[in-house]
């Protein structure tokens, strides 16, 4: 009987479990979970703070998921090391488990930069895990002034999550616009003004030089007084475990399309990996949820002897702030098609007869058609792109393709 070990208990792990089970109903699966919660999706934590979901609704799978999947979960443990020669995993409480194949799904961790005086801040938090959210909830039982360092996805979702609970929210970032990793300055300004209208204060192109208790001294010279500090500068893939057993790593653990690392029998999936971005062909850490699941599933299938490839991963994000939806995908490279709408915009990037990337703010109707064009590398000559540019619709496809889509099993 095969022994499968999955290190990590996030969405990639669930994908891996379901992938293994699609091939092998018998083999034993062991999940080693650092967190003490059954699997939930980390993006939900801001919604939790906001009150849009609660602990009972947050689990990613049903209560009996592990049992039905024939999986044992070792909660509260981290893996100390993998021995690829012996095919064993040793946990930090000293147990040694043998494996037939192992999947590293260790995710990522918040990066906390060394800022002077950070240790003087009494209430400081990261915003990654449910425990972080629970702690923040506890800390904001009464309205507090909140300072968030980092205007990326985590920082802004945290701002939205805390909005109703906070007396004030200030977000600072060294970058000159919000969501610098996924938006250009132009689009970011639309979002920024929307957030500002909702009471979020921004200090951009600026950063904290030094903390002094509950006061942040900014590089620009000003100070911000706060009660609660959230550090949301960025995340780093957790590569140490894989690196420790000889897997090649860069910013993440390097994997092929089959999710195997450079060490045979060791697979990796999710935020800890670095795979190929199909929209540009480069290796990247694509720390987004759909990819995590699909990588996990692919790894699981291959671990159990099946054959699966996941070769159309692209960066993509659907996110909303105070009712304003923002969607992005792919790479912003090539010729730009741009539409401005009232309180929103659309940007499409095309190159070499392909759609490479897009940014949508506001109207996101049927955005999946654009995503699909990028993922499927659809030749734009084969569709009515003039129509598609203006409105995402399958009317731009050939009637044969529509016939397959809407008249066949897909």
């Amino acid at each position: 009987m095969n022994e499968y070990i999955i290190i990590g208990n996030g969405v990639a792990a669930v994908g891996c479990i379901e992938g293994v089970r699609s091939q092998d109903a018998e083999g034993r699966i062991t999940v080693i979970s650092k967190e003490r919660h059954p699997v939930y999706c980390r993006p939900l934590i801001s919604y939790y703070l906001e009150g849009k979901t609660d602990l009972s609704r947050m689990p990613y799978r049903d209560e009996d998921f592990y049992e039905k999947s024939g999986c044992r979960v070792l909660y509260g443990l981290a893996s100390a090391q993998i021995d690829p020669a012996k095919q064993t995993v040793t946990t930090d409480d000293g147990k040694t488990l043998s494996y037939t194949s192992v999947c590293v799904a260790t995710g990522s961790s918040p990066f906390v930069p060394p800022i002077a005086g950070l240790d003087t801040v009494p209430d400081k938090f990261s915003f990654m895990t449910l425990d972080d959210a629970l702690a923040l909830e506890e800390a904001t039982q009464t309205p507090k002034r909140v300072l968030i360092v980092g205007a990326g996805l985590i920082g802004l979702k945290c701002a939205e999550g805390l909005h109703a609970r906070a007396a004030s929210i200030t977000v600072c970032d060294l970058a000159d616009h919000v969501l610098p990793s996924i938006l250009d300055a132009d689009c970011a300004s639309i979002l920024q003004s929307h957030l500002e209208q909702n009471g979020i204060r921004f200090m951009l192109s600026d950063t904290v030089e030094r903390f002094d208790g509950c006061t942040a001294h900014m590089r620009s010279g000003g100070t911000v007084d706060f009660d609660v500090l959230v550090m949301a500068v960025g995340v780093r893939a957790n590569t140490a475990l894989a690196k420790g057993c000889g897997c090649e790593t860069n910013r993440g653990v390097l994997v092929g399309d089959n999710m195997e690392t450079t060490v045979s029998g060791i697979y990796a999936a999710g935020d800890c990996t670095e795979g190929t971005d199909a929209s540009c062909g480069q290796k990247r850490v694509l720390a987004i949820l759909p990819n995590a699941y699909m990588q996990g599933f692919t790894a699981g299938v291959n671990m159990a002897g099946g054959t699966a490839r996941f070769d159309n991963a692209i960066p993509m994000n659907a996110i909303s702030f105070f009712g304003l939806h923002v969607m992005t995908a792919g790479t912003y490279d090539g010729e730009l098609y741009e539409e401005k709408t009232d309180g929103g915009c659309k940007k499409l990037y095309t190159k070499d007869d392909l759609l490479k990337g897009f940014i949508l703010i506001g109207d996101t109707t049927r955005a999946g058609l654009y995503t699909s064009l990028i993922r499927e590398r659809t030749s734009l000559q084969t569709i009515n792109f003039e129509l598609m540019k203006k409105v995402a619709t399958s009317a731009a496809y050939s009637s044969e393709k529509r016939k397959r889509s809407f008249g066949g099993v897909v």
Binding site: C41, L44, L289, H325, A395
Partner: protein
């Protein structure tokens, strides 16, 4: 399994499917009461260009990417039907970002909804199908690659 299929050759673009859908999922007895004077949020939508029109609703894909992408675990496929647990949905629209057919859309409260083949309401058979005046929408079993 039976799915809803659309043949654009016969779609008249009359939009009745949208209204029948909205009514079927309203839980109300009378269409006028259910739909009069308000915007409708159907789970099927007419799309098209000048030359053609057709209705789009969930394809209940063999390998549904929306299920894999849902950040809340709210979309699941059971017995061949892709369903949304609306109590879990947080309205992030990731499913809209990934669905290649444009089959999902939010309801008036921003919660996602999609065609669930009228299995959850009292229609028995999809309302868009029974109400289509030209059999452009059918509910039947078809072979893969047929």
């Amino acid at each position: 399994m039976k799915r809803v299929y659309v043949n654009e050759a016969w779609c008249l673009g009359c939009h009745l499917c949208e209204y029948n859908c909205a009514f079927a999922n309203s839980g109300l007895q009378d269409m006028a009461t259910a739909l009069k004077g308000k915007p409708i949020y159907p789970r099927i939508h007419i799309e098209g260009s000048d030359a053609i029109t057709y209705a789009v609703s969930c394809r209940h894909c063999t390998d549904p990417i929306c299920v894999k992408s849902c950040i809340a675990g709210a979309i699941r496929k059971r017995d061949g039907v892709v369903r949304i647990d609306q109590t879990k949905c947080v309205g992030c629209l990731t499913c809209v970002l990934v669905c290649p057919y444009g089959a999902l859309s939010p309801n008036e409260n921003g919660v996602m909804q999609k065609c669930e083949l009228c299995l959850q309401n009292s229609c028995g058979e999809p309302a868009c199908v029974t109400g289509c005046p030209n059999r452009a929408i059918v509910y039947e079993e078809r072979e893969e690659d047929a």
